[in-house]
């Protein structure tokens, strides 16, 4: 039976792992390759690396990191952060990334999703959507959630699916960093409407939140960062808990 995936997310700045609380305050949580290896050994199903480096050397340092990770670990991983062209994708896939994720660049130029999917296949194109609820309506936000757009989240999710995205990574900016649970209603609405997998992100605080996001939220995978980095929840205990809760999980 196909299992639900647990995905630790590593935020990367200049080759080091960081995690922002609500994306503003950054804390150092170690060496990405070492951390990736630990998570892989502990039973993480996949990893996501989100690069927030803003320097001119960004592309080169990221490709170098991807090569190091690909040599060290034997589970799939996705790389995102500032990817905007077909050439960016080619460099990262050739370095050993399994999938790439795009966010602001897709909002700015939706056609890039079609181009990337045609060139490399939908299976390696993840579209990340940051969403925030404004007066009862869910709107897509860009630039780490700081910039609002006029796109309604549900409509944008449908559009990226039609344009050839292979998966959607949906982050609720209202829930991110709160540890109060995932945005289950919105996730369920989007996951039910789409024919591609949805990765839930933002709000994980307890093991029960993961159970809820797989049942009520109908998510195919759940992503979290700080609770794993600061060892508030261990992946082995989380997977045991989910298996005991009759969630289909890889053990």
């Amino acid at each position: 039976m196909l299992t639900k995936r647990i995905i630790p997310c590593l935020d990367i700045k200049e080759g080091r792992t960081v995690k922002g609380v609500n994306f503003v305050e950054l804390r150092d949580a170690g060496d990405p390759v070492e951390l990736a290896k630990i998570y892989s050994d502990e039973g993480a199903d996949e990893l996501v690396f989100l690069d927030i480096t803003a320097t001119v050397d960004k592309r080169k340092t990221l490709a170098e990191l991807v090569t190091k990770v690909a040599k060290a670990i034997n589970i799939p991983f996705t790389v995102g952060g500032g990817i905007s062209t077909v050439e960016d994708v080619k460099v990262l896939l050739n370095a050993g990334a399994d999938k790439i994720s795009i966010n602001s660049s897709a909002v700015k130029n939706p056609q890039i999703i079609n181009e990337m999917a045609a060139e490399f296949g939908s299976q390696c194109i993840v579209v990340a959507i940051d969403t925030r609820n404004v007066d009862g309506i869910d709107f897509v936000h860009t630039h780490g959630g700081r910039r609002a757009t006029l796109l309604k989240t549900q409509e944008w999710a449908q559009e990226v699916c039609e344009r050839g995205a292979g998966e959607i990574l949906l982050t609720s900016m209202d829930h991110d960093g709160t540890k109060a649970g995932f945005s289950n209603e919105l996730l369920a609405e989007i996951s039910s409407a789409l024919s591609i997998p949805v990765i839930a992100s933002g709000g994980a605080g307890t093991m029960a939140h993961f159970k809820d996001v797989f049942t009520f939220g109908k998510a195919d995978a759940a992503l979290a960062a700080s609770i794993f980095h600061f060892k508030e929840i261990g992946i082995p205990e989380l997977k045991r808990y989910l298996a005991d809760s009759e969630i289909s999980i890889r053990n």
């Binding site: 039976m1 196909l2 299992t3 639900k4 995936r5 892989s40 199903d45 690909a70 040599k71 034997n74 589970i75 799939p76 896939l93 050739n94 370095a95 050993g96 399994d98 490399f120 296949g121 939908s122 299976q123 390696c124 292979g166 998966e167 996951s191 039910s192 789409l194 024919s195 591609i196 997998p197 109908k218 195919d220 995978a221 890889r250 053990n251």
Partner: protein
């Protein structure tokens, strides 16, 4: 031991090379017929679209070469599908090593079953074969695919998604895995190291 990894227009071959490297073997990525013919083992990875891949193989006469090989041969993902007889992906005639048809997943309920089939799923009904030696019961492997090979008497292990399909196929010196062993943790490593011992 000389391992040739067949080079063609397919994505993410690098991961297969790294996985072999982690097992302590140096593999050469090549489309040179002589190098492939003289290798001890041949790996045929793949990700991409079937008809484009077949055109590329034919243009370089790699299609006939693959059919003539006698050493242990391992197809992975699209590599498995290309070893079959025919794929529904753009109505493509494939290499025909396995007399098996490749079809597209068509879910009856698209909420319950999404396509592609992405993630970790179990290999079931494992046959007694050196490729599957010392694996745990119903081991998990990582899948990413929209097309699948039907069950056949060549099926070494099946996987269930919507219905049962061939997870692993075997005929003579030809082995093929639909999942990505290079991304399937310890189980994947075991499959690859078993193949290297065949």
């Amino acid at each position: 031991m000389k391992i040739a990894v067949i080079k063609y227009n397919s994505g993410n071959v690098q991961s297969v090379l790294y996985a072999l490297e982690r097992l302590g073997v140096q593999a050469e990525l090549t489309d040179d017929a002589e190098k492939i013919r003289s290798a001890d083992k041949v790996v045929f990875p793949g990700q991409g679209e079937a008809s484009t891949a077949m055109k590329y193989l034919k243009k370089r006469n790699l299609d006939t070469l693959i059919g003539d090989l006698k050493q242990p041969f391992l197809g992975v993902c699209l590599g498995l599908q290309l070893l079959c007889e025919h794929s529904e992906e753009n109505d493509t005639k494939c290499l025909g090593i396995f007399p098996v048809k490749v079809k597209k997943f068509v879910p009856e309920n698209s909420q319950e079953f999404k396509v592609p089939h992405v993630g970790w799923n179990e290999l079931e009904d494992l046959k007694n074969n050196p490729l599957l030696a010392d694996l745990p019961a119903n081991p998990f492997v990582y899948y990413v695919h929209s097309y699948y090979a039907e069950l056949s008497n060549l099926t070494l292990a099946s996987t269930h998604y919507i219905h049962d399909f061939s997870g692993i196929l075997h005929r003579d010196n030809y082995y093929a895995i639909q999942a990505h062993p290079e991304k399937s943790g310890l189980v994947g490593e075991k499959l690859l190291s078993n193949f290297l011992r065949i």
